[in-house]
Amino acid sequence: MLYINQQKSELQAATLAELAERLALPPQGVALVLDRQLLPRALWAQTPLSTAQDHHIEIFQLVAGG
């Protein structure tokens, strides 16, 4: 089961990149935490999501203000 920002999700995806596509995430400025690891976008395509286990995903916007 996938949990996205604490909500159960029915989405299925083989990789994080596929999930990002399903969610129509913007191409810039988004960060993703998978099971407590912050994963650079460059790693999303090679990061598989298993259906055999729960995955906790958090998606949020990176900001630059100070």
Binding site: Q28, Q37, L38, R41, A64, G65, G66
Partner: protein
């Protein structure tokens, strides 16, 4: 090096914190910290570091004070509008603690100026308000091997990065081709959240600056296979990203290890070389 009588009195409440209080205070006195950006994050960070007894700061900001800065940029007053931030900040900080040596850059530094400023400092603190400056300081941190403590706040989001030469870098996460990230001009900002974030950053900086070389060496190891000594005294969890969140059981920063991008144009080669 020792403390003067007046410094002993000034720092007496910090000196009471543990048996090595004096050594810790002397480490602060010997430290030089670069603070890039003297806005909502930079004001409280610089103020806490100077008040606590950090011996020297390099303060960099090319902006002038605007009326819309005043709700959160605590070193400035209404009558300061229009004046250079770095100059006014330094004047206020000197009143807070005359023992700190302050070096001031009140124009936007070019690459070489920033490189030289970074080379003189023990730690680089990114309190800037835009992506190109953040990436520039990140590059210089890598180049110089200096640790970088970065904060970023916009809207109701607050983020912290604790990076050193052993950890992934900011550019692993943020692509230089990205045109912009959201900032306070585009999103607004919660004044108390900026101050809280700045003080979290300042607390971590003071932990790091007061730690002995042994304590720092113990705190450094971080990697996928190496559990982080998170929460130990003096440990700064380098390689971690912190994000402010309020949930049912916790209000504060949640910390996540940042994974390296092996193809990162800034640190990728270094990372591969180190393996």
């Amino acid at each position: 090096m020792n403390l003067s009588d007046s410094e002993f009195i000034r720092y007496s409440r910090s000196l009471m914190l543990g048996e090595d209080g004096l050594e810790r205070q002397l480490r602060l006195k010997q430290a030089r910290v670069l603070v890039l950006g003297l806005g909502g994050l930079g004001c409280p960070v610089a103020s806490t570091l100077v008040s606590a007894g950090v011996g020297a700061l390099t303060l960099i900001d090319g902006d002038v004070i605007e009326l819309s800065n005043l709700p959160r940029q605590s070193l400035y007053q209404t009558s300061d509008v229009g004046k250079p931030k770095a100059e006014v900040a330094a004047a206020r900080l000197r009143q807070q603690n005359p023992h700190s040596q302050l070096q001031v850059l009140k124009s936007r530094p070019d690459e070489q100026q920033l490189r030289e400023a970074a080379a003189d400092c023990d730690v680089l603190v990114d309190c800037s308000d835009n992506l190109p400056t953040r990436l520039q300081l990140n590059r210089l941190a890598r180049e110089s091997g200096k640790p970088m403590f970065a904060g970023a706040v916009s809207g109701t989001s607050a983020q912290l990065y604790l990076l050193n030469r052993h950890s992934p870098c900011y550019q692993c996460l943020v692509d230089p081709d990205w045109q912009v990230l959201q900032n306070c001009r585009s999103m607004g900002v919660d004044p108390a959240l900026v101050t809280l974030t700045a003080q979290q950053l300042a607390w971590l900086l003071l932990q790091y600056l007061q730690a002995s070389p042994d304590q720092i060496a113990q705190a450094i190891p971080f990697g996928q296979a190496n559990p982080v000594p998170f929460g130990q005294a003096n440990s700064v969890p380098f390689g971690h990203y912190g994000r402010f969140a309020a949930s049912e059981h916790h209000i504060g920063f949640h910390w996540y290890p940042l994974q390296a991008n092996p193809n990162c144009a800034c640190c990728g080669a270094v990372q591969q070389g180190a393996v």
